[in-house]
Amino acid sequence: MTDLVDDLLAGKHSALARVITKIENRAPGYREIVSELHQHTGDADVVGVTGSPGAGKSTLVDKVAAEYRDRGLTVGVIAIDPSSPYSGGAVLGDRIRMASNAGDMDVFFRSMSARGSLGGLSTATTDAVTALDAFGKDVIIVETVGAGQNEVDIVRTADTVAVLVPPGSGDDVQMLKAGILEIGDVFVVNKADLDGADRTVQQLREMLQGRSGAGKAGHHGAVATAEQGEAATEGTDDTDETWDPPIVETVANRSEGVEAFISVLEDHSEFLDRTGARERQARDRFAAEIRTLLREDANELVAGELARHGGIESAVDDVMARETDPYTVVDEVLAPLRECLDAENAP
């Protein structure tokens, strides 16, 4: 197992690929691997790219990766595609668009399927980013369809979030509903050569003005969901500087606007360093990660206890027969845990 970590740190591509597989499968030993890798991370710039299907995410990511390579940087890409809830299978097609980096091993492109999971995917993504970071990638791009909480969680893995908006997606309400305005640090109107692009840029601009007036805390995607709230508030705005998300126009398949897009990413990266926001974001992320892991592991412990008590079905039987009630069941299941903790905490 440690061999795999050594191989990864030594720059062996197949080791990196295998580590990500273990992370995806939660194979035995993956936790130890990620733990060992953690100390080697923290150097990569992580960029999240999200947007509706067909917005041109993969094409843009391809061109951006190629541009970074021209500048001598190494790139890791994680592309997340939905999987069928019925068969569990998936066709992961983002790779088809990676034509500009064909055969270049220093662009490490990995497709991941959503595997119909809630929460688990964002953990897997975070861990995969850890692996790419430890491998020594300078820039890591996480690409996902922007729809729903799960994806929003994934994009939060990133230091900088780019939201792609195709022209003519019009209807203001649609975008507000998706909550997508709040998470973007940069907005990209891709396919800017199409009719309606100007209008989309205009609409976006108006909506973003509304946003900066509305909430001051929202410099990075209103990081404050209920749980992360405390962590976020303690760190808000010791400087007055805020980030106004720029709007960039690109025609990704012709590489137009790609350089402008990258320089905006760089500006944001500098902004994060200058204001200390990068550190705050990292703190928030780790806080959220610790909470998530705690919850998952605690759930597992409790599920084990429940099984030892005869499982949920028999408990439900007893409750149905009015022999006991849900509160008593929970007390009984958790009794050994409580005893342990009490013994531990006793002086």
Partner: protein
């Protein structure tokens, strides 16, 4: 990851690759869909890939199965290049290598010698291929 597959059972990943100057990908599409419906994760390469690109995809995606579709007759040139590349990146031993297409019998033997695990020609059924993969997917 769903609760059911949390322990033990892992998802088999397959690369479906089109190499060389061969624009016929109807079959590759059908196979990709069938594998997906069988519960596998399928990475489709797109058309006209070079052997290097196939190797890059197979290594980075850490697939269990490398499926190479060739209808151009250039299998004797292209397939060995892919096999060499996989070996170079230490990604050959624990991978199932399948070739699909029209391969004359004489060539089949040679491809097998070079390390191809199975060759599926015209008339091979989906079920055959899927159960072959299920049976022979490498232990990891």
């Amino acid at each position: 990851m769903s609760v059911e597959q949390e322990q033990g059972e892992r998802t088999i990943r397959c690369l479906v690759a089109k190499v060389g100057l061969d624009g016929h990908d109807r079959g590759a599409h059908v196979i990709a869909r069938a594998l997906r419906d069988a519960g596998f994760e399928v990475i489709y390469s797109g058309l006209h890939r070079s052997p290097d690109e196939v190797v890059q995809a197979a290594v980075q995606e850490d697939v269990d199965v490398v499926g190479i579709s060739i209808l151009s007759g250039a299998h004797n040139t292209l397939v060995p290049k892919i096999l060499d590349g996989l070996q170079e990146y230490d990604a050959f031993d624990d991978r199932l290598i399948l070739v699909g297409g029209i391969v004359p019998d004489d060539d089949k033997a040679e491809l097998r010698d070079r390390g191809v695990d199975e060759i599926f020609g015209p008339g091979a059924s989906m079920e055959e291929m899927i159960s072959y993969i299920r049976e022979h997917a490498p232990e990891r």
